[in-house]
Symmetry: none
Subunit: 193 residues, 4 copies
């Protein structure tokens, strides 16, 4: 992969795109993104041949960052529940610390501009992590057919929790643990309170 001249510029473009998409959705203009990245309008197209390419690259990029945060957040791997708890907390706290990134991802994920290929690549980012959690999951959710479903339920609950924590910062700690409790009851094999 011939890397472009300046990795800095590419990064600046992704950062600017994150903010723009978070605030304006995928309708955010390439001109705005380039300007906020501090590069010329035409330069954007040297790094991303197409706006759609930029969006797909951004989606993958942000999901990768999230994934790295999850991996870095694993501290106590003694029991499935502590693992799940670490993952949950890392997820939520990444979303809270990177509000715009989180919002950008949400907006892109419902868009038809993100191709199935990109979605597939994103799925492949997470496997190990989920394997860890899944050990604790209910039998029904552990069959090959349904493990994606379990993941999706996990993500749905986490995203909802992030949203509420952002909306009600004063009660964010309570929401986060209430959310975790709900997730654990929903998905885990045993439900010891």
């Amino acid at each position: 992969m011939a890397r472009p001249r300046s990795e800095d510029k590419k990064q600046a473009l992704l950062d600017a795109a994150t903010d723009a998409v978070a605030l304006q959705g995928i309708a955010a203009s390439t001109a705005l993104i380039a300007r906020n990245a501090g590069v010329a309008e035409g330069t954007l197209f040297r790094y991303f041949p197409t706006k759609d390419d930029l969006l797909n690259a951004l989606y993958l990029h942000l999901k990768t960052l999230l994934c790295e945060a999850l991996q870095a957040g694993l501290k106590d791997m003694s029991t499935p529940k502590t693992i799940a708890c670490d993952v949950w907390n890392s997820y939520i706290s990444w979303g809270l610390k990177n509000t715009l990134a989180q919002r950008a991802v949400r907006r892109m994920s419902v868009s038809e501009k993100i191709t199935p290929e990109t979605r597939q690549q994103v799925n492949e980012l997470f496997p190990e992590l989920y394997k860890l959690c899944q050990r604790a999951m209910r039998q029904e959710l552990m069959t090959i057919e349904f493990e994606d479903f379990g993941d999706a339920l996990f993500l749905a609950l986490a995203e909802t929790t992030i949203e509420f924590a952002l909306r009600h910062p004063a009660r964010s700690q309570e929401l986060i643990s209430l959310g975790f409790e709900s997730m654990w009851r929903a998905l885990a094999q045993e439900n010891p309170v």
Copy 2:
């Protein structure tokens, strides 16, 4: 005198908008919507002064339809769990029967074009129903501060379930009951398997 404004045309516009937004997001053009509704482009703006007004009206309209389906779906009100189950099944089956409507709603709900006022109106559509379910909910989720959170978790799980059921029609029945089981564990007071 003069011909009366036609409720049919308004309906045709909302229907056409549903399909267009489902497929292309809120970027779907008014020209396309009008054409598919079988009216002139200028006519659209007699019924909805602004594209944003159309989107907000559409959002409210679809959520109203969903709400009516939920109310119509209440059959067995003997126990909290049967109530919750009816609601769950109605929700999912409305989503499955009205794929485009469901997709349109999802896309609009993450858009900044839907105003807080509209969102508030939508919230007010649902109260009785949720009261019913909430009787069965865990204490923690029944405080005023957290009942919205409980609702949101319910919706998140249901939407995820709909999405998977659409993607895997052959296994939709299993997914639906697996989803219900997860929701019930997550949110209900008692967790008898």
Copy 3:
């Protein structure tokens, strides 16, 4: 001339058009004019087959009103200067009392929508009056070729005076007499202060 059903409606349309044109120029929409006149959009076109017809009718109407005010304002016909002074004062005070009408006329008079025919009709409204003033005018301005020019100079000075008097109400009296003095010096045969 078969008069339309309701002279009231026609009048209401002209009044509404006056305000609309004063505020928005000839771009003011027929829909707005009709609404402010309290009639339906289509009704406007029963009284004025075309928007241009409405504008021309309005121009003639307002100039007629002005002309009537000038004639009514003649009080002291003893000397040319008192006549001129009465005309001047009537003109200015009509402009000040009918700001919107005055502004509407100004905007229409530079527009290509007002036809030469209408402009000719307007010219024909004023003759007698000007004959009176002209007795006092300089020889050079009394030849057939230049009497229109003298009229136009009179009007130009009067309109400028109105504009300034509107802009500076506190000093309007001074402006009006300063304007009159200037007009009299410019156009009259003798210049006794």
Copy 4:
């Protein structure tokens, strides 16, 4: 790098706009202006972000040209009257040579699209010139409160003269000097014929 913004194109746009506004008023379409300037419609909006911006820029531009003509026209500065005469003649002859520009200015000046800021900038173009004339003006018109009024009367008479000279080219010389005589009588301190 990248091709520089072309002053030629900007000029072509202003020229095309002058003609279009002269003939059709401020309602002249951006499409027509761009086409007559030989550029794409989108290009117009790179030079003038808004149609209103174009109109304001055009107004300022034309008034600047006029002002330059007035300054270049000063030849004999020996007496106030010769100065005034040079200014008068330059003004009229600029109007005659630049009919469309003159007409465009007239139409724009009664429009609400021209902002107070632009009007202020235009006022500031002229001060020195008027100072020259004002030395000859009547005391009453030399007070700070009324010097603007004197200017406006001067302009009103000049514009009227231009209009008549255009309408009657055969007699334009007579009209011009008749106009000057009237202006001088109206505004100057002494009125020696």
